[in-house]
Symmetry: C2
Subunit: 193 residues, 2 copies
DNA sequence: CGTCTATTTGAATGTACTCAAAAGCGGTGG
DNA sequence: CCACCGCTTTTGAGTACATTCAAATAGACG
């Protein structure tokens, strides 16, 4: 599978020598997922960080009542996976599955650690990646704390206009922290006026 | 001001040479804050990342209606500051102020970048710091999405038992995403039964 | 002691949820 | 090509969790 995308991604924040590129790409495990396939399953320990090369995945967790809650949509160029399980080696509380046919690269934890020890400069890439991720998480937190579901949906539509085309509404509702029924009512108001 | 705490913090994830320690600590700007003092003010560009050496700060943002929303409490050993403003050099939407008399170190952005270029191994510390921070953010997100205010308060009390001793309840309410009035009612139920 | 802010209380209200059912939509097989 | 199946989305009525507003009480600080 083509690794040029992920290397280009790395080089947005870092210039790499051939040796580093080679070490990096040779650690990756390519996989093709069909719509609905699991990239990782809740209950198991997350042993890899996951890069989305094409397509779209979502991570969600299932609460005590059996309701799913979408943590993240990950499209082409994004990383995903349960960092808590990855870090602590405790069983994951998230599942990650493909919303469309997708290509992903798994970066196994052991290989990632070896890479980072061998090429400390690679730390920079993940530092920046995580730094940006915190900004996104805080943005979402603020949205949930300070605006109504109505506005959150509007903001979501503007921010990720393409997602709505292939993500079922019930998952968008979950991401926004509301029920599918209520999202439906919001949409009715919005279009029907 | 004593830099042994922050160095010990760094060395939990990384072994440092004297030269690195010295460069790091000499970039820090120490400050003592009194209760209520601002460490950073919304509207200005965040030019430093902030380490809490002692005491407790909180970051919050003020929405269009004038309501405050607590993003984070930062106690001794934590970093805080608006990473979005820090990264993008856009005006901050957060203010950060001292909840108790506190000692902080400012790490100016320029110095941080110079440090990271000079000593790429330092990237590792911030990579791990941010990685853990994402886990916390996701945990909080999940809490907000899946449990009632009642349970969120109980979980918060267990997780941060000391904070309640000196953080006004209205800020805890804000952090939990509820009104002070409602938190009061939760507390009445809990104690009075 | 007085002032200022934080917390508590209560009543009325609103936003979003639950439950149940109907309608829409896409795929599959006869 | 139509009929059927499973899943998603929509609708509506009743309900619950949490908010708003107003006022009383409690605490902290000079």
């Amino acid at each position: 599978m083509d690794t040029s995308g992920i290397i280009a991604q790395l080089e947005r924040h870092l210039s790499l020598e051939e040796k580093e590129k080679l070490s990096f790409t040779s650690a990756l495990i390519a996989a093709r997922l069909k719509q609905g396939d699991f990239a990782e399953v809740a209950g198991k320990i997350t042993s890899s960080f996951i890069y989305v090369n094409s397509g779209c995945l979502m991570s969600y967790f299932t609460d005590a009542d059996g309701s799913d809650h979408v943590i993240q949509f990950a499209v082409s160029g994004w990383w995903t996976g349960d960092l808590h399980s990855f870090t602590s080696a405790e069983p994951s509380i998230y599942s990650t599955r493909a919303l469309t046919d997708s290509e992903v690269f798994y970066l196994p934890k052991d290989d990632m650690e070896t890479l980072l020890e061998k090429f400390p400069r690679l730390e920079r890439y993940f530092r920046i990646l995580f730094q940006n991720s915190i900004v996104s998480h805080q943005h979402r937190l603020i949205q949930n704390l300070s605006v109504t579901a109505d506005q959150r949906y509007e903001n979501f539509s503007k921010r990720y206009p393409t997602l709505e085309q292939y993500v079922p509404l019930k998952y968008i509702a979950s991401y926004l922290g509301i029920t599918p029924e209520f999202l439906s009512k919001i949409r009715r108001k919005r279009s029907g006026n």
